[in-house]
């Protein structure tokens, strides 16, 4: 797995602020994600982890600050730099996202869930799109479920379809927003196995999770957030000797 620091940056967040009404959720976040890096984000609920991910692919527009991705800048930006601007829709085609609640499209089959964006966004012909979609479903072990609708699948299967739906777009970065939190305990393993494979294949990933086993194993850069700020970040050593008392208290509470 790749190293922290020296990798080519893929995504850079600078001084991101975001409020919902009077609730200041993100209060100046800086984060650089390198090529092939696996970033794990922790923190108590309400600390802004999800909003951080959703800002990264611009499902939420930051109030101020800059999202930089692949040579272009998104969001309000940093004054006076004049970086080339990009369109949010094009960024989302390059950054995949997996949601806590799966959010599969319930009215179409597993195959169509994966093929939809290939056809409508990439403009691929139906035959090609369905074949490619089936290949990705095979990759997450669900080739026998092509014709199933989401309601006919278990939570773990649904989340694997959701991962295939993102991967099929061949994104440069994958965002995972607590992908196993809504699953029954016995179904967590199958989703983590897919994520491990993906990490080993060199995919750049930003993962919000409380699965400490996965985090310790895959996390190159580990970030502890609280109250809209990055409290502490580091490599694997963060788990054994965190400097900040808040980080230590959090680890003690969940382990």
């Amino acid at each position: 797995m790749s190293q922290t620091g020296d990798a080519q940056p893929v995504v850079r967040l600078r001084n991101i602020h975001k409020s919902f009404d009077s609730n200041h959720v993100l209060r100046g976040i800086d984060l650089t994600v390198g090529q092939g890096q696996h970033v794990v984000v922790f923190g108590p609920s309400g600390s802004g982890k999800s909003t951080l991910l959703r800002t990264t692919n611009l499902l939420e527009t930051p109030d101020s600050g800059s999202v930089w991705f692949d040579g272009k800048e998104y969001g309000p930006g940093i004054e006076g730099e004049g970086l080339p601007r990009g369109k949010a829709r094009l960024l989302r085609q390059e950054i995949g996202m997996v949601f806590q609640q799966f959010n599969l499209f319930p009215h179409i089959t597993a195959l169509d869930n994966v093929a939809l964006a290939l056809r409508r966004v990439r403009g691929m012909k139906r035959d090609k799109a369905e074949h490619k979609a089936a290949t990705y479903l095979d990759r997450v072990g669900l080739l026998d479920k092509l014709g199933a609708f989401p309601s006919q699948l278990s939570g773990g299967q649904q989340q694997r379809v959701a991962i295939a739906r993102s991967l099929v777009m061949e994104p440069k970065v994958m965002l995972f927003d607590e992908p196993t939190s809504a699953l029954d305990p016995e179904l967590v393993g199958e989703v983590l196995a897919v994520m491990r494979d993906l990490a080993e294949s060199g995919m750049t990933m930003v993962v919000v999770t409380h699965e400490m086993g996965f985090a310790r194993e895959a996390g190159d850069l580990n970030i502890f957030m609280d109250d809209g700020l990055v409290v502490e970040s580091g490599g694997k050593e963060l788990y054994s000797d965190a400097r900040e008392p808040r980080t230590r208290a959090f680890f003690e509470a969940i382990l």
Partner: protein, 270 residues
């Protein structure tokens, strides 16, 4: 007051064949009832979708205007509305409009308000997560609406919309008041001419029942048609679903055999 003539007629023998003998007159009315109900409902559906979308828009000018539209057109009794438009507005302002057009216009306006509220409920019942997931794979806002949100909303609104269509068939009888020769108007004219009140109105009741029952089964069929069935694991009858099953199986086999050949390829290379 006792009317001897009416009493005499009431004692006359019940003649069910009277309905059959006058079937052509009844069917003429049925035809116009169906025409009015279908045209007005189709127009109301299109208008209702527009009403729903504008009602949900964040536009500070349009949203309250549309809210007022809904509240006004839902609140006026249909019978009063028809008379007001045809005898009131049309005469006062010398608008050249036929009774059928006036009837369709009024039914369309009132039903677009009701349907608008049903559609809004259906669209809002589709979770935000659906929109986010569609956007997250790079779909545009219109694609997200038409490919992801709307198809789910349609499923949700089929039953209440079907009820509205049955309501439309019944409410279309109210345009009799402006002389539109639909089923009820035809019946009342026939009854007044022949004094066969019981047979004539029994005929009207039967024909309305046939129409609404047919509509009911139509809605049931639509609900079934939109049901979600895995064509790979369920025995399906429709030829469309069968072809889809064959197709999916072909894709499955192709992908599986590609995987096989790939893994055996690596095995020989090692």
């Amino acid at each position: 007051m006792f009317d001897f003539g009416v009493w005499i007629l009431a004692q006359a023998r019940f003649r069910p064949e009277f309905i059959w003998d006058n079937r052509d007159a009844f069917l003429g009315g049925v035809r116009l009832t169906v025409f009015i109900a279908i045209v007005a409902f189709a127009l109301a559906t299109v208008l209702g979708l527009g009403v729903a979308l504008l009602r949900m828009s964040k536009n500070r000018l349009l949203a309250p205007i549309v809210a007022a539209y809904i509240n006004i057109f839902r609140a006026i009794p249909l019978l009063v509305f028809v008379v007001f438009v045809y005898y009131g507005i049309a005469i006062q302002f010398d608008v050249k409009i036929s009774a059928i057009q006036a009837g369709i216009l009024v039914l369309t306006l009132q039903y677009s308000a009701w349907l608008g509220e049903i559609f809004r409920g259906g669209i809002q019942a589709v979770s935000d997560g659906q929109t986010q997931a569609a956007l997250s794979v790079g779909m545009s806002r219109p694609q997200t609406f038409f490919r992801v949100v709307l198809p789910q909303a349609i499923r949700i609104v089929i039953p209440p919309t079907g009820n509205m269509f049955i309501g439309m068939i019944k409410d279309s009888s109210l345009v009799f008041i402006i002389g539109v020769p639909e089923l009820f108007r035809v019946s009342s004219v026939m009854a007044n001419r022949t004094f066969r009140y019981f047979e004539v109105y029994l005929g009207a009741v039967i024909f309305y029942l046939i129409l609404t029952t047919a509509a009911y089964f139509g809605v049931k069929y639509l609900e079934k048609r939109f049901a979600l069935v895995d064509v790979l694991t369920t025995r399906v009858r429709s030829p469309f679903a069968r072809r889809r099953g064959v197709r999916l199986r072909m894709i499955q086999d192709a992908v599986a055999s590609e995987r096989e050949s790939k893994s055996s390829g690596t095995a020989t290379a090692m």
